[in-house]
Amino acid sequence: MDNLTSSGWRQALLQGFVAGLITVSASTIGMVELFGTRYFLAGLFTMGQLLLFAPPAVLAFSLAGKIKSQGISIVTVKAAAIGAISGAMLALLVWANQTFPLRTVLINLSPKLMGLLTFDRSLAEGALILIGVSVATAVFGALLQFVPRLYRQALLSAIITTLGVGLLAPLLFERIRNFFGQSVAQLVFTSSALQVVPAIIIFAASAALFYFRGKAALNSKPKAEQKLNPRQKMLRQIPLAIFLLILPMLLGSYLTEITNNVGIFLLMGLGLNIVVGLAGLLDLGYVAFFAIGAYTMAVLTSTGPLGVAQMSFWAALPICVAVSALAGVLLGTPVLRMRGDYLAIVTLGFGEIIRILALSDLLKPFIGGAQGILQIPKPSIAGITLISPEQLYYVILGGALLAAFISNRLRESRVGRTWIAMREDEDVAEAMGINLVRTKLLAFAIGAGFSGLAGAIFSPKLTSIFPHSFNLLISINILSLIIVGGLGSIPGTIVGALVLVGLPELLREFAEFRWLMYGLLLVVMMLNRPEGFIPSDVIRRELHSGDEHRAEV
C-alpha cells in the first residue's frame, strides 16, 4: 500500500510536469495568444484560457480515476500538485522571458502573450493567479471522479456541448441570423462567442438531457437487434433522403461550399477505399487520377485558349472518368508485382511525376504549366448554369451517391470477395485461381475512375485549375480520412471526410495551427480508436485477431 501511494505521488508529479509541458508548449508556439482572441463566453473566457487550464484538469481527472481508492483528500492534494506544477511552469516561462532575451529565439513570446499569462499584472501577482486557477481547475477535474457516474457523465457531456457551441459560435451565429434575423442571433451570440446567459441555459439543458438519457439507458434493457425487412429499411431511408435534398437550404452558401469540398474528398475516399481498403494496395499517389480527371475536363470544356473541344460538362464527364480509369490501368500495370511499401513509394512517385509534368514547361503549350487552365465553364442543366455552391451540391451529391452505390454493390459481390481474399493473402488467392493481374487492375481502374469523377467535378467548380492543387498532401489526406473513418467501410469514409476535410475548413481562422491540430487528431485518433470511427466488420475482426495474423507474416 505504501508502495502504491509513493508511486501515486510520482505519477502526480509526472502528470503535473506533462501538463506544464503542454501548456508551456502551447504558449510558446503562439497557440495561446491566437486562441486568446477568441472568446467562448463573451468577455469572460477565451479559448486560450481553455488551452492553459484544460490540460491540468484533464490529466488530474484521469489520474484521479486511477487512484480513486486512496480517498478524496489525498486525491485532492495530488490534483492540486498537478495544477500547481503546471501553473508554476507557466510562471517560470514568464519569469524567464522577462529575465533573458528569449524572444530573439522563440518569436512567439510576445508582450501580449505575457500579458495574457499574467492577467496583465506584475509577475508575482500574475503567477499567483495562474497557479491558483490551475490548481482550482485541476482539483475540479479530480473531484469530478467522485461525482456519481450518472451525474458525472451528464456534467461532462454538458461541458463538451457548451464548449462545442462556443467553438462553432461564428457559424451558428451566421445561420441563426439568416433564419431568425440579427436580433435573435444577438440574443445568443456576440458575433463570435456565446453570451453568458444562453451559455448557462445550454449547459443546464444539455446536462439535464444527458442525465435523463443516461438514466433511461440504465433502466431499459438492451434492445435486441431488430431484423428489418427491406420495406422498413427503405422507409428508414426516406428521412435521410429528404434531409440530403434540403441540406443546402439549411446550410447556406459557405457551409454548402464546405460540404461540397467534403463531397469531392468523399468521392475520392470511396475510390481509394476500394484500392486500399478492399484490395489492400497501398496507394500514396492517388491524387494523380484526380489531376487527370480535372485536367481532362478542363482541356475538353475550357472556353479559353487551351480548350480543345469546348464540350459541355455532361458530355465530357464520361470521357474524364474513362481517361482516369485508363490511367489507373496504365499506372497500375508496372506496379503489379510490387508489394506493400514498395508499392507505396512507387505510387507516391507517380503522383509526383504527374504533378511535375502538369506544371512543367514541357506540357505548358497544352495544359498551361504553372499558369493553369482558366475559363472552365460551370455545368448547366436545361439551360440553367449551376453557379452557386447550393446548385453544385446536387451534382456532387449525385456523384457521391453513385460512387457509394457502386462500391457497395461491388463489395457485396464476387468482385469484393476476390479483393478481400487478395488483400488477406495474395499467394493463396492466386492459388485459388484468382487472376491477380485482372483483379488488381480492376481495383486500380475503378478507384481511379472515382477519383477522375471527383476531378471532373472539381475543375468546373473552381472554373480554373492549377497544378498546385494536386500535391502529395491530397493523397495523404484521402488516405488518412479513409483510415480514420474506418478502412473498408463506406459510412466510415463519410465520417472521415467530414472530420478531416470539413472540420479543418470550419476552423479556417486558426489556419496557422490547423495542420498541427490535424496531426494531433490523427495521432490521438489512431491511439484511441485504431479501427476508425465506423469500422467495417472485416477490419474490426482483423484488429481482434491481429496478433496471430502478424505472427505469420
Binding site: 439568416n178 453557379i387 492549377f466
Partner: protein, 407 residues
C-alpha cells in the same frame, strides 16, 4: 441493397439534378440576400469588419503571414474610422484554388464584412475573385501578380483590384535595367513552377528580347530544391555561352540558394545576378549574405516613403518579434489603407451613430483611387483594378540593407 433501394436511389439522383436546375432562383433569392441589398450597416459601437484571405499555412506561410502583419499594422495605425473600431477576420487562402474559393465563400456569407484584403497566391485569387465579385463584395490583393487576373478576357472580375505589381511591369523593368543600364546583352531566366515566378520570368524574357537582347537559357527548378549547382552548370554551358545576366525571380529559400551557389559554379563567376521582390526581405538579405555583391533586386520604389516605412518596420519588429519576413507587407499595408480611405469617403453616418457603407460605392471608390500615397508609391487604379505604382526600383544589398540604385 435491394432492387427497391436502387430505384429510390435513382429517383434521388434524378430529383436532385432537377432540383439543381430549379435551385437557381431559390438559392439566390433565399439565404444570402444581403449581397443584393448592397449596404453594410455598422451599428453604433460595433466595429467595422474587414477580412483578409492570405496564405497562413503550408510551405508558403511566410508570404501570407507577412502580408497579414501588414494589414494588422495598418489597422493599428488607423485606430478607428468615424468612431468605429476596425476588426480583422483573418482567413487562410491555402495558396490553392480550392482554398481561395472556400475562404471567399466564408467571407461573403458574413454580411458585416466591408472589404477583403487578399489573396496571397494568384491561383487562389482566380476563383475567389469570382465568388467575391458575384456576391457584390470587393477585394484588394496585396500579392497577386499574374497578368490574367486583370485581363478582362481571362480572369478579371468586377470586384477585383490589386496593389501588387503586374508581372508585366516588374519583368519589363528588370529587363530594361539589365539591358540598358548594365549594358548586358545575354541573359538567362529561372522560375520555380509557381505562377508568380513563371509569369515574371516570362515577362522578363519577352521584354529583354524586345529590347534586342538574347535569352540563352530559360529553365526552371522546383520549389524545395536545394542543390542548384547542376541547373546553374547547365546554364553556364548554354549554347549561346554563359549569360551575362541571370534572372531568378523566385522566393527567399530558392533565391538564396541560387544567389550563393551561382558564385560557386564554373562559368558564372562574372554573371550579374538579378532577383525580384520575392527575394526582398531581411531574411533573404541575411541568407544571401556574402554573395550579395553583384546582385540586383527589383521591387517597389520605397525611396520617398522612408518615414512611414520606418515607423512601419518598427511596429512590425515589436509586434511580431522579427523584421518583415517576406515581401508583400508593404503592398498589404497600402491595400488596407486604400480600403480605409474609401470607407471614410463612402460611409454615411446615421443619426444613431451607425455607419452605412454601400458596396457598389465602395467598389467605385476603390476603382477611382488615384494618386493615393502609399509606401509602395503613388497608387492609381486602372479600369481593371491594377493599382500598383508602375515605378519599379532596382536595389542592391549593402551591409544587409537594400539600397536603391535605379532609377
Amino acid at each position: 441493397m435491394s432492387k427497391k433501394a436502387f430505384s429510390i436511389l435513382a429517383l434521388l439522383v434524378v430529383t436532385s439534378l432537377l432540383l439543381a436546375a430549379c435551385g437557381a432562383p431559390a438559392a439566390s433569392g433565399g439565404a444570402d440576400a444581403p449581397a443584393a441589398e448592397g449596404d453594410v450597416v455598422v451599428a453604433a459601437g460595433d466595429p467595422i469588419r474587414i477580412a483578409s484571405a492570405l496564405v497562413i499555412s503550408g510551405p508558403n506561410t511566410d508570404l501570407g503571414l507577412d502580408s497579414q502583419h501588414g494589414v494588422e499594422i495598418a489597422i493599428e495605425f488607423k485606430g478607428e474610422i468615424k468612431g468605429h473600431a476596425i476588426e480583422l477576420q483573418a482567413e487562410d487562402d491555402g495558396c490553392s484554388a480550392e482554398g481561395g474559393q472556400a475562404a471567399g465563400q466564408k467571407i461573403v456569407s458574413d454580411p458585416s464584412i466591408v472589404a477583403v484584403i487578399g489573396t496571397s497566391c494568384s491561383g487562389s485569387g482566380v476563383p475567389m475573385a469570382q465568388v467575391v465579385s458575384d456576391a457584390g463584395y470587393v477585394m484588394v490583393s496585396p500579392s497577386n501578380t499574374a497578368p490574367s487576373l486583370t485581363d478582362p478576357a481571362q480572369a478579371w472580375k468586377p470586384g477585383y483590384l490589386r496593389t501588387a505589381h503586374n508581372d508585366k511591369v516588374q519583368g519589363a523593368a528588370m529587363a530594361e535595367y539589365a539591358y540598358s543600364v548594365l549594358g548586358l546583352s545575354t541573359a538567362a531566366a529561372i522560375h520555380d513552377g509557381d505562377p508568380y515566378t513563371e509569369g515574371l520570368a516570362n515577362a522578363f524574357r519577352e521584354s529583354f528580347e524586345a529590347l534586342g537582347g538574347s535569352v540563352v537559357a530559360f529553365t526552371a527548378v522546383n520549389v524545395g530544391d536545394t542543390d542548384m549547382r547542376p541547373v546553374l552548370t547547365s546554364i553556364a554551358a548554354s549554347e549561346g555561352g554563359a549569360p551575362a545576366f541571370l534572372f531568378f525571380p523566385v522566393f527567399t529559400a530558392e533565391c538564396a540558394h541560387l544567389a550563393t551557389q551561382a558564385l560557386e559554379v564554373a562559368g558564372l563567376e562574372n554573371t550579374v545576378r538579378g532577383a525580384a521582390d520575392g527575394c526582398f526581405s531581411a531574411a533573404s538579405a541575411e541568407a544571401i549574405g556574402d554573395a550579395a555583391p553583384g546582385m540586383y533586386f527589383s521591387g517597389p520604389d520605397l525611396s520617398f516613403s522612408g518615414d512611414v516605412y520606418n515607423q512601419f518596420a518598427a511596429a512590425y519588429q515589436s509586434n511580431f518579434g522579427t523584421a518583415p519576413i517576406s515581401v508583400f507587407h508593404a503592398h498589404a499595408f497600402d491595400a488596407t489603407n486604400m480600403v480605409f480611405a474609401c470607407i471614410e469617403e463612402v460611409s454615411v453616418e446615421g443619426a444613431d451613430g451607425s455607419l452605412t457603407i454601400n458596396r457598389q460605392a465602395m467598389r467605385d471608390c476603390l476603382y477611382a483611387t488615384s494618386g493615393f500615397q502609399g509606401i509602395t508609391g503613388s497608387l492609381t487604379c486602372n479600369e481593371y483594378g491594377d493599382c500598383a505604382d508602375p515605378k519599379i526600383a532596382v536595389y542592391e544589398i549593402v551591409d544587409g540593407e537594400y539600397v536603391s540604385v535605379w532609377p
